[in-house]
Structures are given as structure tokens and as C-alpha cells.
Symmetry: C2
Subunit: 224 residues, 2 copies
Amino acid sequence: MTKPSDQTRGGRPVALQPDERAEQRILDAAHTVFVRRGTAGARMQEIAEAAGVNQALLHYYFRSKDRLAEAVFRRAAMQLLPSVIAVLASKADLEEKVTRVVQLELDHLLRTPHLPGYIISELTHHPDRARQFISALTGVTPEHVRPRVLRTLGAQIRQRVRRGSMRPIAPEQFVVNLLALCIFPFAARPMLEVMLGLDHQRFARFVARRRRELAPFFLRALRP
Amino acid sequence: MTKPSDQTRGGRPVALQPDERAEQRILDAAHTVFVRRGTAGARMQEIAEAAGVNQALLHYYFRSKDRLAEAVFRRAAMQLLPSVIAVLASKADLEEKVTRVVQLELDHLLRTPHLPGYIISELTHHPDRARQFISALTGVTPEHVRPRVLRTLGAQIRQRVRRGSMRPIAPEQFVVNLLALCIFPFAARPMLEVMLGLDHQRFARFVARRRRELAPFFLRALRP
DNA sequence: GTCTATATGTTGATAGAC
DNA sequence: GTCTATCAACATATAGAC
């Protein structure tokens, strides 16, 4: 078994080899197809066509559909909450954290609007994905950071509460509320489009407005 | 083609016939399996076993997997926003609407926690579902009601704003924020469980707390 | 209405040439 | 590394007996 990633190329930053480019093209194509159809609904043939290669090559690089799906999911999971955890764990004060998370997340989701639906879909239908999701996160932020995010937030909140400038709120509720307000509109986009009669253009305007108003909305809810 | 629903039984409220009970059992079993595996990942055989019937009977009643999936989705879509639209369209004042929507939705989702993930998954992967979703809604609330929900909410908001007791907010943002805060925790439950280290019991407590605190949280965000 | 048995078409995966 | 050709395993759907 000689997988391309096992080969040594001397470690120098060379231009991508043909094989690497093929592997990358396959991964990108798989991402597109898996996101659109879901893992179970995706067809290896469609991925191969989208990548401009033969179906056998998919197995050459990734061995099975399952492993390919796992590779795609891992990469996608690392994208969903990239900067968010970093921001929440930072030393910035709460107002700034909220404002920056909203901007970062909405800007990012505007570029990859289908990501939330895909992640949610995978996590609900594929039991093992939860483990893979957490290990993908620990690839970005070390294992011990996440519990610390909650403790840090909790400390910041308690400090505010003591000062009388904030209502008490559990840090878990804080995080979930913030993520919900950012992510849900994209995850539920098809539902919202038919419910509210939004076409693509209106949805874009809807999000643009949200980008300005969401952080103030959230922060008002925290006032005493 | 003699479908059981075409048969006349005199219109009197009789006990369910064997056939009806089979059809119902199939629909329930299909719901369970489709929700767990997703439409593409579900197998007719598994549904048949769960319903305690033969696979051929599924086709006898529903003709194809696709039609069965459509029937299941339509029923599920009617469940997701059952009372919510009714409450939002009612004459109650805004505080009461918010409070009641939170209670109704969280209570309902506690009983069917997998519904949001399933609906979102279907809508993102199956393009035609959007049409079916809206027609399922119009089965519950007449077509002309939903635009009126937004107008009604808009009028109530403007009234408050004029009185100085509320910040301006577009009714679309109002509705999406409210739904996001209610539904997202369930749709993203597997993600939140690993991110926040919640087991099932902790998640239940998390939601119980949310049931008390969410409406006040939301209403504070609306204050001037 | 409900079953068993089977046809028919896909799909993921492999073998082997180049 | 990349291709063509092909296999074996399902999964959906139907035929036909009871």
C-alpha cells in the first residue's frame, strides 16, 4: 500500500505534483457533491466526473467511499467554527467577542452557506461523526481549550453581574444563543426562503442587515 | 389500482381496519427510519421490519420509496411549526406571543428532538422538498395567513416603537431570531453535546433552564 | 391485503493493462 | 498514477400465489 501522502518529497516547498493535484481535486469535488447530496445520497461516479478523473482513482487515493466521506467531513468541521472558538477564548471583553463572532461567522457563512446544513445533516444521520467532529476541532484548538472557553466566559459574566452591568446567564446558554442566531438562518435557509418569501437576493439583504443588527440585539438581551 | 384510501367505508367513525392499521404502522415506521438515516440512507427493508410487514406491502400502499419519503416528510413538516404560526398570527400581544412560542416549541421539541435535524437535512439535500414544505404548511394554515403574520407582527412592532417601548426590528428578523433560539439547540444537538460536554441528562437540564429563561432573554433584546 | 420469489438496475469496489 | 473493464452485493420494484 503506497499512499501518496506516505511518499517523501524532501520536504521542500515544491509546486504541487500531478498526483497531489489529483488528490486535491478529488477532495474538492467530493466536498461539493457530499454537501449537495449528503453522504448517503452522493455517488462516487458523480464525484469522479466533478474531479475530472476516473472512478477507480477515488479508491486509489481514499480506498472507500466511507473514508472519503470522513476526510470531507473532517475538513468541513474544521471550517465551521474556526475563528469562533479562538475569539471566545481570547482576552477581549464580552462586547468585543460578541461583535467579532457575529462578523466573522456571518462573513464566513456568506461564502459557504451550505456548510451548516451539511454538518447538521451528517451529525444527525451518522452517529460516529460526533467523535470525528470533536477530533477535527482538537486539530484546530487543543483539547483543553474548550472547557476553558466556558470557564473564561463564565468568569467574565460573573464579573459583569457583580458590577451590575449584566444579567446572570449560564455560559452554555450564552454560547448556544450566539451560535444559534448566527448559524440557524443558513442551516434553515430553504425553510426560511419559502416561509418568508425570500429569494436569493432578498436573503442576501436579510443577512447584510443581520450583520449590522445582530450583535447589538444580542448585547441588549444581556443587560440587567 | 385500488388504494385503501379510495375505498368507501360509509363515513362512520369505525375502528381502524386491518389495512389502515398496516398503512399507519408503515408510515410510523418509515418516519422513524427516515429520521434516523435520512431519506437516501434509509432502506425499505428496514422500514418493513420496523413495521412488522413485508417489503412488498410498502409498495402496495405507497408505490415507491420516493412517494413514501414524501408522505413522511409532509407529515413531519406539519409538525415542526404547528402552533407557532397560529400563535404569531393571533391577536395576543407581543410578550405573550414570545412566551407562548417558546413554551410550545420547546415542549414539542422535547418530545420529538430529532425533527429539526431531519427537516433541515431533507430541505438541504432534496431540492423539491421546499415546495412540499410550503404545501404542507398551507395544509395547516391557509396560504394567505403567512404573509399576514409578518404584517401583523410588523404593525405590533411599529406600535411599540411609536410608544417608545421597543427598538425597531424587521418582522423577518424577529421571527428568525425567535425560531433560531428555539430550534437550533435541537438541530445542532450532537454538535453541542460534544462541544459543551453535555450528556443526555445535562442536555435535558439545559433545555429545561432554557424554557424558563429564553422568553425573558428575547424580550430584553427588544427593549429600547 | 399480505405474502414469497424474483427481476432489474445501481453502486461501490477490484483486477489488471498501460 | 491513471485508465478500462468487470464483479459482487445490494436495493428497489414487480409478479403472482394465497
